[in-house]
Symmetry: C2
Subunit: 162 residues, 2 copies
C-alpha cells in the first residue's frame, strides 16, 4: 500500500509518499514541498500545483491520497488561497482515479503522537522517528504531509483502539 499524504497550500504544499509493507512497516519513498510565489498569477500557481502533483502520482503510483479535513475555524488570511489549492488537489487525485481519504486534524495528531492536541514540534519529532529520517524535514508542511499519510496507514488499527 502506497499513500500520498498532502498538506494543502498555495504558497507551500507539502507531500510525502509512504509505503507500508505486509508486516505494516512504513517506509518513506520520497517527499517534498511544491512552492509557488505570491508574485505569480493565481492561474499559473494552480496549474503548476496540478502538473507537479500529477507528475508525482505518475511517478510513484500511490493507491490513495490522504488529506486533513478542512474546517472553517482554521480561518486565517490564507484560507481562500488554501481552499482553492485544496480544490485543485482533490481534482488531480480524482482525475487520476485515486481515492481520497480525509482525516480530522485531531485524529492525525493522535495517530502519530498518541495525543490529539500535540503541538507541531511533537509531531515533527514523531514523524522523524516513525519514518527513520535523519532529520526533521523542512519546511514544516512536509512533516504535516507525512503525518496525514501515516494517519491513513495507521487508521485501520486506530479504529480498533478508539
Amino acid at each position: 500500500m502506497i499513500v500520498l499524504g498532502i498538506d494543502p497550500g498555495l504558497a507551500r504544499c507539502g507531500w510525502a509518499v509512504i509505503e507500508q509493507n505486509a508486516r505494516k512497516d512504513n517506509k518513506i519513498i520520497d517527499f517534498g514541498c511544491i512552492e509557488t510565489k505570491a508574485t505569480t498569477e493565481l492561474p499559473q500557481r494552480l496549474t503548476a500545483l496540478y502538473s507537479t502533483l500529477e507528475e508525482i502520482i505518475n511517478k510513484y503510483k500511490p493507491h490513495v491520497v490522504s488529506l486533513e479535513k478542512q474546517y472553517l475555524f482554521m480561518n486565517n488570511k490564507s484560507v481562500l488561497a488554501t481552499s482553492q489549492a485544496r480544490g485543485v488537489i482533490v481534482l488531480v487525485a480524482a482525475r487520476n482515479n485515486l481515492p481520497i481519504r480525509e482525516y480530522n486534524p485531531k485524529l492525525v495528531k493522535m495517530s502519530v503522537t498518541g495525543y490529539g492536541a500535540a503541538d507541531k514540534q511533537q509531531i515533527q519529532r514523531m514523524v522523524k522517528i516513525l519514518l527513520k529520517l535523519k532529520e526533521i524535514p523542512t519546511p514544516d508542511d512536509i512533516a504535516d504531509a507525512m503525518a496525514v499519510g501515516l494517519c491513513h496507514l495507521n487508521s485501520a488499527s486506530l479504529n480498533l483502539k478508539l
Copy 2:
C-alpha cells in the same frame, strides 16, 4: 469578443456566454447552472464541475473568463466549498489557455446598474434588460454570472468613466 462569466459555487455554479460585436452590442449566446448534489462526494463534484466547464469552453470558445474577486468578508458556511470550486474553475480556464479577469463585486454591480451597492433584484432586472431576456433566469447564480460577464465587456468604457 466572447466572454464566459462564471459565478463560482460547488452546489450551484452559474455560467453565461456573452458575445460583444464590433458595435459594442452584447448578445447572450447560452447560459446555465452546473449543479452538484451535497450527497455526492467532493472529488466527483469537482470532477463534474471541471468536465462541464471544459465542455462549455470547447463548445463556445470564449476569449476570456470573468469572475468576481473573492474576499474573506464573504465568509459563510459555504466559503470552503465555494473556494475549492473556485480553484477548479480557475484551473480549467488556465489549462485551456484562457485568460481570467477578476472584478471587485462593487464594480460588477456598478457596471450593470450604475450603483455599486445595488441589490440582487436590481441586478437581475438590469441583466434581463441589457441582454434582452424574456425573463429573469433562475437560479440567481445565472444572473450573477451574466453580470460579471457584462462587467468584463463594459470594463474598458467604465475605466474611462471612473
